[in-house]
Amino acid sequence: MSPLSLAQKKIIIILLALVVSPAIMGQVPSPEQMWQIIQEQQKAIELLKAKLEETESLASQNSDAVEITANAVEQVTIDINRGPDEFQRTSIGGYGELHYNNLSDDMLDDGDDSLDRTDYHRFVLYFGREFTENIRFFSEFELEHSLAGDGAPGEVELEQAWVEIDLNEAHTARAGLDILPIGIINPTHEPDTFYGVERNKVESEIIPATWWEAGIGMYGELAPGWNYDAVIHTGLSVPTIGSSTLRPRSGRTKVAQADDLGFASTGRIRYTGIPGLEISISGQYQSDITGTADNIDINATLLESHLIWQHHSGFGLRALYARWDYSDDPLLIPDSINAGTLDGWYLEPSYRFNLANSSWGDIGLFARYTQWDERNQIDGAHRFEEFKQMTTGVNWWPHDNVVFKFDVQWEDADGLVDRTLDGINLGLGYQF
């Protein structure tokens, strides 16, 4: 706003003088004096109106300038936050788990397999890239047990490496090395997403998570809340001799120079149309689960179904059942080692709550009863027996993606087995 000019100031002073002086002199102004006063007042009013208009115009200009400046600053901020296009389209993530197991072996006849172990079990990195809006790549790279190499306990593994293309807005095709759509832990195994330090035995022994194969498939949405997956992929190659004969977990080749595999197909239907609830069923068929290089031809089917319920009150429930059925071969009859059908199930109620509405995060309490078939690990007398395990414990999430875990387990088995482990487990996990 520009200051008043000298001429403008003079007019105002004269006006004030004309008004004030008669009052000071105690005289009533004459009509001529009143007319002069009115004229001067009118001039002052016009001056003030002009000044007001000028002020409003400047205010409007300032407002526009502020708007333009704010827009520019916001755009710069957005550009800085997003970064170059290269960074925008590339993602990095990962998860990790540190475990401590202190478990006592109840079956000492065949040696003491007790554990007192500290282990950085998994260190995983994700790398992803969006080539276009509709074509993307994702990978999962893992180091197990801290140290890999000759004589070291760990492994370096490629668990996922796939490319997917959106066929339309509801269906996507995917090819590469991918985790199979079976179970709860198998597709979602970051440590902050499940209770208990160790993954449950049904999913690790029967399914057997984490299970990935090379293949091509599709996934998408059939109707609101109804989702599907369908994939054709390489199969397991389970041993046919030794103490791991027909053990599903021992059949994972991890797509590492995997020779002579039979092909398999897996399908899943998943319903999530009720908030808090997931119901899923998966089925798989393998034409030759022992691989094609030998003379043994055993077909196998896997059926898995589960329910996940998580209520906003904090109560949760997981229930899962999985089952393999093997066909017979004259050279190897699965029933002879109690492996004609290998199945397992578990039930896991839980309750998660915030720590007294504080910023200390959430606590979750859980109990899990598990029953599953597993090898007895007795040399020379290999067969599958039914195991049972009761586990109870607590998770603490100081942040949604960071978890501390403690649990106690009691294990038992029917028949003669090499080990059953009772004790405690401690764990730390994160994902980002």
Binding site: E74, A170, P224, G276
Partner: protein, 173 residues
């Protein structure tokens, strides 16, 4: 093998002829959302400056800064409409939210960009927010059930619901 091929072809066939339900994409343009909300007479846009105490509260609600100096909103009496974005897993979800007398009147997913978690766009999830308001410490006064497999998208939408209620209080007090 023949049976497997037949099943696979069925999935392809039924998947493509089923009503096209876009999992990702633009479900409604922001301007069209506003015209729906205000029956065609969209008020002049207003701006809420994000600074000082407001900035701190935003950080508390979202876990990060909003990244903008001001937020646009449209107001008609005791109703305000907000179009906000929050990242789910790696890409932003654009959400339209209407607040009326300090309660949520409507939540609509406008644009969903990610390849998973699209279930949050359905009424079976968004209808949970109807008539929800804020209680102490910027929390919703009603629990919202999530969608299995869409955890990050659910968290993003929940945060935006809290944020819009907080903003509404600021501009109408």
């Amino acid at each position: 093998m023949k049976i497997k091929v037949i099943i696979f072809l069925h999935i392809l066939f039924w998947g493509f002829i089923s009503p096209q339900l876009p999992a990702r994409g633009t479900y409604q343009e922001p301007q069209a959302f506003l015209e729906d909300v205000f029956d065609g007479s969209v008020p002049v846009v207003s701006k809420l400056w994000i600074q000082n105490e407001t900035k701190q509260q935003v950080r508390s609600i979202l876990g990060h800064d909003l990244g903008v100096l001001r937020v646009s909103y449209w107001r008609e009496g005791e109703r305000t409409a907000w179009i906000l974005e929050e990242i789910g897993k790696s890409l932003p979800i654009t959400v339209g939210i209407v607040i009326n007398a300090n309660k949520i009147e409507k939540v609509k997913i406008l644009i969903f960009r990610e390849s998973r978690g699209w279930e949050v766009r359905y009424p079976f999830y968004t209808d949970q927010f109807l008539n929800v308001k804020l209680k102490d410490k910027n929390e919703l006064d009603k629990g919202i059930d999530g969608i299995s497999g869409a955890t990050l998208s659910v968290r993003a939408v929940n945060r935006l619901a809290v944020l819009s209620l907080y903003f509404h209080q600021l501009v109408t007090q």
